[in-house]
């Protein structure tokens, strides 16, 4: 901790942001954000995806420069020019995903920030390690390889790393998303100890329940702006329910009707089955029951997911990222096999079929990882339009590629979908994000589609292309032969396109909400983990 404010009483501002604004192309990520983080206080920062929390963290940790605004650390104006500058100012950040080297020991990981010319001073490092271990009240062997530690323990190492150069401000970005319930409890203990030691703790989360349990002060961000605050005085006097109502209203911008909405939510979430059967007796086209998958470390697998989608219906799937949405999409597409559970399309069991088999039955999947898995970016646009059909008699004869047909096909789709590209032979990587998305839509939306799974349809697109993609999804709504599942972490989007919206939480469907007025708040509550209980 560098500037030690003389005589600063407890509760004094450790870090203050004045009118921080940061603009990215097409997005105002932070809009005149003013916040003050005080010593000895746990300050929860709540907001949906895209509310501007990540940008704010980037700014205080030296990864992102603000366009305007000023920052004060312990009363002195500073400029945070790099991550190491932030650490030297005593501002430590623990990111959502663990950033440690698994093969190195705990102590070695903590020494990684040292300049390369300095020899590793084990004695001094061990001393600081012991101090911090005592402060956090954690038991960690300094020589254990990090890869052998549990995620909770790895996070403790991350906290140590963040506090290594001083204990002024600690940012915790979604610290509970990877933890077990026990891990969350342990983290709470560590946070309180640090607070009592005088550290300003900023706790960034989606989960309202955790915020109201742990925080001394809550601020809510929405669309880059600070839209409200619950002060320590209010927190100590309000009932937990009242706090939740108030914050939900701030987060999702639907105010005044909370009581009415709760009833909507409870009715829907408690009995999705009954509501479905009441729906004109239409048989669901897609039925997923008890879907479970095996996840890798750090991945959220499906844990008994049930989903039914009727023909012509768009089922939105909402939820904070990393609650099993990726596995759900892959299970539907056949890219990932379930360990248990059943899946059927139009009454036919398709659980044993892989991607190719399901595609023949009309299953289509538009992935959000357009370049990472959806396409072969260095290959031509024309090839990318047929990679799910390689060997089909339409484009291959006796194993020989009929390039003319493939190129004709590509030119047709380029025209139909108004894809902007130099030619059908141009490498896909040269296209803009919006046009790559159109390539995927063109490839997947063929006449015989029975189930279309769309994952984050507008992820990474600019406003105009976002609107186009949404309009396209709306244009295929009500197509009587097809069930559509749209997975997104943008609530606005799901409310815009869906008939019903399911909320995923920890690999299960926490509830299904019919998309009508008040749905926003009901979904917000489910997402914030307060559920229908």
């Amino acid at each position: 901790m560098e500037p030690d404010p003389v005589g600063a009483p407890d509760g004094d501002a450790a870090l203050t942001l004045h009118d921080i604004t940061r603009r990215f192309p097409g997005v105002l990520a932070n809009d005149r954000v003013s916040l003050s983080f005080r010593r000895g206080e746990i300050h929860a920062l709540l907001g949906e995806n895209g509310a501007g929390k990540s940008t704010l963290i980037g700014i205080v940790s030296g990864m992102v420069r603000p366009d305007s605004g000023s920052i004060e650390v312990a009363g002195r104006p500073v400029r945070i020019t790099s991550p190491s500058a932030a650490l030297r100012l005593g501002i430590g950040t623990v990111y959502q995903h663990v950033l440690l080297v698994p093969s190195l020991s705990v102590l070695e990981n903590l020494m990684l920030g040292n300049p390369w010319w300095r020899t590793l001073d084990r004695a001094a490092t061990s001393e600081r390690f012991a101090d911090l271990a005592e402060l956090l009240s954690v038991r960690l062997s300094p020589d254990a390889p990090v890869g052998r530690l549990s995620l909770g323990e790895q996070q403790q190492v991350e906290i140590m790393r963040a506090l290594w150069h001083g204990e002024l401000v600690l940012f915790l970005d979604e610290p509970t998303s990877m933890l077990t319930p026990q891990g969350v409890e342990d983290l709470g203990v560590v946070m309180r100890r640090l607070r009592d030691h005088g550290v300003a703790i900023v706790f960034i989360t989606h989960k309202l329940k955790e915020a109201s349990d742990l925080a001394d002060r809550i601020s809510v961000l929405r669309q880059g702006r600070v839209v409200g605050e619950v002060t320590p005085g209010e927190l100590s006097t309000m009932s937990p329910d009242a706090i939740i109502e108030r914050v939900v209203a701030m987060m999702f911008g639907d105010d005044g009707k909370a009581g009415d909405l709760r009833a909507t939510l409870v009715g829907d979430a408690a009995a999705p089955q009954s509501r479905q059967s009441a729906e004109a007796g239409v048989e669901p086209l897609l039925v997923l029951r008890g879907g479970r998958t095996a996840g890798q470390r750090g991945e959220c697998a499906l844990d008994g997911t049930d989903l039914e989608v009727r023909p012509g219906e768009i089922m939105g799937v909402a939820g904070v990222d990393g609650n099993g949405q990726k596995h759900l999409a892959e299970v539907l597409a056949g890219q990932r096999m379930m360990t248990t559970g059943s899946i059927s399309l139009a009454g036919r069991d398709i659980g044993h079929l892989g991607v190719a088999g399901r595609r023949r039955l009309g299953v289509r999947y538009i992935t959000d990882e357009r370049l990472g898995e959806g396409t072969a970016p260095r290959h031509s646009l024309a090839i990318n339009l047929v990679i799910k059909e390689i060997g089909s008699p339409q484009f291959w004869k006796g194993g020989i590629t009929l390039w003319r047909r493939i190129h004709d096909h590509a030119r047709n789709l380029i025209r139909t979908y108004s894809i902007v590209a130099p030619s059908e032979r141009a490498p896909l990587a040269g296209l803009s994000g919006g046009n790559i998305q159109k390539v995927l839509l063109a490839r997947e939306w063929t006449g015989d589609a029975r189930l279309l799974v769309v994952s984050k349809p507008t992820y990474g697109l600019d406003l105009q292309n976002t609107r186009r993609a949404r309009d396209w999804i709306k244009s295929i709504r009500g197509n009587r032969d097809t069930a559509i599942v749209v997975i997104s972490n943008e609530l606005e989007e799901l409310i815009d396109v869906s008939h019903r919206i399911a909320v995923m939480e920890r690999g299960r469907i926490a509830g299904i909400v019919k998309n009508r007025s008040g749905a926003r708040t009901a979904i917000g509550r489910l997402m914030a983990g307060v559920g229908a209980a």
């Binding site: 597409a333 056949g334 890219q335 892989g354 991607v355 190719a356 088999g357 595609r359 999947y365 992935t367 990882e369 990472g372 898995e373 959806g374 396409t375 072969a376 970016p377 260095r378 290959h379 090839i383 990679i387 799910k388 390689i390 060997g391 291959w396 194993g399 020989i400 590629t401 390039w403 130099p422 040269g430």
Partner: protein
């Protein structure tokens, strides 16, 4: 983005390949001067003995046969994104099996049938030696660079065991396989010393080059090479394709071994290991996996090797100096590629 005239871009391509070669020759000349040798004399002998003299040219062309077959296999593997660095072991094992089998078969069947059987067996042996790395890669994602290299060491040692124990010809004092009679070896072209394996190798490289772009299998393999996750997403049978790509690649390495034995050596002595793979791998990179470019580079390399052997003897330069030149070409290729990439990026901004 500006679209360049095709002539300009093909010129650009030529320069970006020739420039590293010229630079490598220049630095090689400096090295020769430092060794107290006359670089012009060295390069002169290389060209004279490797290219211009009839026997030298014949030897150079003959040498291209195994190199081209290995390269053909590597084109398949590399375009599928699989780094089969174990071609030396695959080649040697197949060569040893061929050397043991050919003399036995030669007495029992017509020559052409013997050759066909030997080729088939050699390809099977090569492919079999790639099966373990292929399955490890397909099933568990084990890095094939390591596993193929390790299998290569094992293959080379195992080949020696085969030569020294079961396949040893008791009539010779040094451990070696029974010798295939000269008249049973691959037929020569006209009255040269070049055998028809060279033509076969050329045909295979060209066939492989086109198969990668003109067939469904080729496109599947290229998608695997582009990104395995894309292949899974597209519903390709990734595991099978990985095994197939390895089998083709290693099978062609095995064929290279058989061609070298049946066309040139007729027998294999213990501890013989030509280590062709280690030089063909950079050449295939240099050619950017293009079959026609591979043919050109392999020919130039063969001239360098044959001429270099002769030049080395006359000027008392180590034979391995040729490898220094190849290494320098690779180095400069990487540097020009990097600079070109940066230039294009600055031009775009």
């Amino acid at each position: 983005m500006l679209r360049r005239h095709p002539l300009v871009s093909s010129l650009h391509g030529m320069v970006s390949v020739l420039l590293p070669v010229v630079l490598a020759l220049a630095v090689g000349a400096v090295l020769l001067l430092a060794l107290g040798k006359d670089p012009l004399a060295y390069y002169g002998y290389v060209v004279k003995r490797g290219l211009l003299s009839p026997t030298g040219l014949e030897a150079s062309l003959t040498r291209t046969a195994p190199l081209l077959l290995i390269a053909a296999g590597l084109i398949v593997a590399f375009r599928s994104g699989l780094w089969n660095l174990g071609v030396d072991g695959q080649l040697l094992l197949a060569a040893v099996v061929t050397a043991a089998l050919a003399p036995v078969l030669a007495d029992r069947m017509p020559s052409l049938l013997m050759v066909a059987v030997c080729f088939a067996v050699a390809m099977a042996v090569g492919a079999a030696w790639s099966l373990i790395p292929a399955l490890l890669k397909a099933q568990f994602g084990v890095n094939e660079i390591i596993s193929t290299l390790m299998m290569s060491f094992l293959g080379v040692s195992f080949a020696n065991v085969l030569i020294k124990i079961p396949f040893n010809d008791p009539l010779t004092t040094v451990p070696q396989t029974a010798t295939l009679a000269v008249e049973d070896r691959l037929m020569r072209l006209a009255d040269t010393t070049i055998h028809w394996g060279v033509l076969l190798a050329l045909a295979v490289v060209i066939a492989v080059h086109h198969a990668m772009t003109m067939t469904a299998l080729g496109m599947r393999l290229q998608i695997v090479g582009a990104n395995m996750r894309t292949a899974v997403h597209a519903g390709l049978r990734l595991r099978l394709l990985v095994v197939v790509a390895f089998a083709i690649s290693a099978g062609l390495a095995g064929l290279a071994g058989a061609v070298d034995v049946l066309g040139v050596h007729g027998t294999i002595r213990a501890d013989w290991n030509p280590a062709y793979g280690i030089v063909v791998i950079p050449l295939v990179f240099l050619a950017r996996f293009n079959g026609y470019a591979v043919i050109a580079f392999v020919f130039v390399f063969a001239v360098l090797v044959i001429g270099g052997e002769s030049a080395a003897r006359r000027l008392d330069v180590p034979t391995y100096f040729v490898l220094v030149l190849v290494g320098l070409v690779m180095l400069f290729l990487a540097v020009t590629e990097f600079l070109d990439h940066r230039r294009r990026q600055t031009a775009r901004n």
